[in-house]
């Protein structure tokens, strides 16, 4: 008998001991970061960067597989008792000795998770993690000349790159309302002093929004530079247009934090992911009725929102709770009660 077979046999026996729970349910009580557990992390410190941004130092569980500079991390945080998932760029270098990972979060107005992380999270808090992911990364072959075009918290993935890899010729154009809003300002100026970076700060409160036509004047050789851009959709859209106009779009790499806004209007097309059926729904008809009308096998129960016999994963779009008007947007793991939820724009549910 191989040791793997022995281990799996022992595990099966343990499962018989702990049923209906799993051995991991008990192990989680004492060692939530052990190898083999769901990937989690423990927050060890929250360091303020600016008035509304902070760096969160996370000790990831043993299952953490590391990251590539520029990638992001999905974090599941319990805010007011509810688990909410958000993606944040990793700002720590890949070779950090202590194995910790940092994300840097800017509190956006009305942002539940960002405000919670920046202002209320205490060291010791356990968070859920996914492995690092994202294509906004440096190529293996170092380009000779680099431009970083960033705005606001768009600086975070780039900071991960700057801390990881040195370039002979790197320029950064960064926009922030005022000097004190520039995240990592001291560190950036340190890089400038060491002549490792040329930094152009655009302070939008005094200089106005960055007009990309000024790029010729700020960075005359920008078309020759491999460019990484991250910031609000307006800036990225304008950059994509400009790079395309000059026929150098393959040099531009962009990272968007929000993939378009969810339309929470009055009804929309409902897609039933598992069966591939679609149906038009107004904003007042429960998705349960819509599905049944479309011939989809919908689980159902009390049809009044109490028994939870109808809960179904919402995989895309948004739905409105017919009782409260509250909008629920699709996220992995979000389940909705189809009997009291109506389409709020196009949406996909897993039936």
């Amino acid at each position: 008998m191989t040791s793997a077979a022995l281990r799996s046999g022992a595990w099966k026996l343990l499962e018989m001991v702990t049923t209906p729970l799993l051995p991991s349910d008990y192990l989680d009580l004492v060692s939530p970061l052990r190898s083999g557990a769901d990937l989690r992390g423990r927050i060890e410190a929250v360091r303020p960067e600016t008035g509304d941004a902070a760096t969160i130092v996370i000790r990831p569980g043993r299952g953490w597989r590391g990251h590539t500079a520029g990638q992001y991390l999905r974090v599941g945080v319990d805010v007011d008792g509810r688990r909410l998932w958000r993606a944040y760029s990793i700002t720590s270098p890949t070779n950090r000795r202590d194995g910790r990972v940092t994300i840097t979060v800017k509190a956006v107005p009305g942002g539940k998770v960002s405000n919670h992380l920046v202002r209320r999270t205490k060291p010791g808090t356990l968070v859920q993690l996914d492995q690092a992911t994202g294509d906004f990364v440096l190529p293996e072959a170092k380009p000779a000349k680099v431009l970083y075009l960033t705005a606001g918290s768009g600086i975070t993935p780039v900071m991960g790159m700057l801390r990881d890899t040195e370039f002979d010729d790197a320029v950064m154009v960064h926009c922030a309302p005022q000097p004190q809003d520039v995240i990592f300002r001291d560190e950036l100026h340190g890089l400038v002093a060491d002549e490792k970076l040329r930094l152009i700060e655009v302070h939008t409160d005094t200089d106005g929004r960055l007009d990309l036509s000024r790029l010729d004047e700020l960075v005359p050789d920008w078309t020759e530079r491999e460019t990484w851009a991250c910031g609000p959709a307006g800036l990225l859209d304008a950059a994509e247009d400009l790079w395309r106009e000059h026929g150098v779009q393959e040099r531009l790499h962009t990272e968007r934090f929000r993939p378009g806004t969810v339309v929470a209007g009055d009804g929309g097309e409902v897609t039933f992911g598992a069966t591939g059926r679609t149906a038009d729904a107004d904003g007042a008809t429960p998705l349960l009725d819509v599905g049944e009308e479309a011939g989809v096998l919908m689980p159902s129960g009390c049809r009044m929102g109490i028994c939870f016999g109808c809960v179904t994963p919402l995989t895309a779009g948004a739905v409105r709770d017919l009782r409260t008007g509250e909008i629920t947007e699709a996220e992995p793991g979000v389940l909705i009660q189809t009997c009291v939820s109506a389409a709020a724009g196009a949406c996909t549910i897993e039936r």
Binding site: P20, L29, D78, I306, G333
Partner: protein, 372 residues
């Protein structure tokens, strides 16, 4: 549906107003759910796991009488916590709002021979939607007993005090049989129904796992204490069964609780549905520990009005609900556990005999044997 309708003094408008007031109570709790509630259920789950672990650990030495006593007591409490405050309430979706996949009605499994998904169907959909409606809510006597004068008497009911006692001792098996609708499905062609067979196989698998754990694996792990550990787990299951059965009997069977005719729920409004829940349920009064050990089903009335509110909130909701009972001059049926258990048992005995005088109209309903 007793001779005098205790809600006859309410106008249709008053009933709808009552419904709106109850909706407001519900909305307030929903809006206030948060970190403290989440911390509460996590703490209870963690405490239950530790208690079960320690109790089973102590039972490894159950050969020593003090270890047997402590271990058995601990395991009984752990099993009750698992079934009541944790399992029943999570399976109701009371904690689904947390979006924690590990504490969710669709993923939870409990220390019970009825698989969670089957129980959710018969309990959440049928019992909670059709509470106390004759012929629709099989919880009314579980198909083996007559618990209202308006249920038709059958000689089979003569034995119902005994059926009820046996059901109490092996309650989890009674529930599993009931969730499978065994009585109905074993008759005639239905037993070959593939859907029924799939569900029956699932129950079989669950029973096998539970029995193997409690009566084979843990006794074996105890080595020389094999027999005493076997006796301990059997006792813990018995204690859990009798306790949960007693609590649940108190929810709908004591004197003063109303049952309803099938046709009375046709076109039922939200206000009328609420009113039926109010009149069809009974509470148990007692200390905080008492409420906890019943899984807050001691607040049965509040639970039936708002089955998906977190159980730790029923105590505060009860104050407001009780005020509404007074405002609308309705009887809030409640009492200490011994009194309510006695009241329910008295009814089981009384109704084992035919009614003294015939009721005006008896709905047709055949008794069904569902208990194991």
């Amino acid at each position: 549906m007793t001779a005098i309708d205790p809600t006859a003094h309410l106008t249709a408008e008053q009933i709808e107003e009552l419904g709106r007031e109850l909706d407001a109570i519900r909305d307030e709790v929903i809006a206030g759910r948060g970190e403290k509630d989440a911390a509460y259920i996590r703490k209870v789950i963690s405490a239950q796991r530790k208690l079960e672990l320690v109790s089973r650990g102590v039972l490894l030495f159950s050969f020593f009488p003090p270890a047997w006593l402590i271990g058995t007591a601990g395991l009984s409490v752990a099993k009750i916590m698992d079934n009541m405050e944790i399992g029943h309430n999570i399976l109701h979706g009371q904690w689904d709002w947390m979006r924690d996949p590990k504490i969710h009605s669709t993923t939870w499994e409990w220390d019970h021979v009825s698989p969670a998904d089957q129980w959710k169907h018969s309990h959440n959909e049928l019992h909670h939607t059709y509470t106390n409606v004759l012929g629709k809510d099989n919880d009314l006597g579980y198909g083996i007993m007559r618990v209202d004068e308006d249920q038709k008497w059958h000689p089979f009911h003569l034995g119902q005090p005994l059926w009820n006692f046996i059901n109490a001792c092996f309650f989890e098996y009674g529930i599993a049989a009931y969730d499978l609708e065994l009585g109905k499905n074993l008759r005639g062609r239905r037993r070959k129904d593939p859907e029924f067979r799939t569900r029956a196989r699932a129950v079989g698998r669950k029973i096998r796992k539970q029995v193997l754990k409690d009566y084979v694996i843990h006794p074996l792990l105890s080595g020389p204490s094999f027999l005493t550990t076997l006796a301990a787990t059997f006792t813990a299951n018995l204690v859990r069964n009798i306790w949960t059965h007693s609590v649940i009997m108190c929810g709908h069977f004591p004197e003063g609780v109303q049952v309803f005719e099938r046709r009375s729920i046709k076109d039922e409004t939200r206000g009328q549905w609420y009113l039926r829940q109010m009149m069809g349920s009974a509470n148990i009064s007692g200390s905080r520990a008492m409420h906890f050990m019943t899984g807050n089903l001691s607040h049965q009335i509040e639970h039936h009005l708002f089955p998906d509110l977190p159980s730790n909130r029923y105590a505060e909701v009860a104050v407001k609900v009780r005020a509404l009972f007074e405002k609308y001059e309705l009887e809030y049926v409640t009492g200490p556990l011994p009194k309510q258990v006695f009241s329910a048992w008295r009814k089981v005995f009384r109704l084992s005999l035919p009614n003294r005088k015939p009721t005006v109209e008896a709905p047709e309903r055949e008794p069904e044997l569902v208990a194991a």
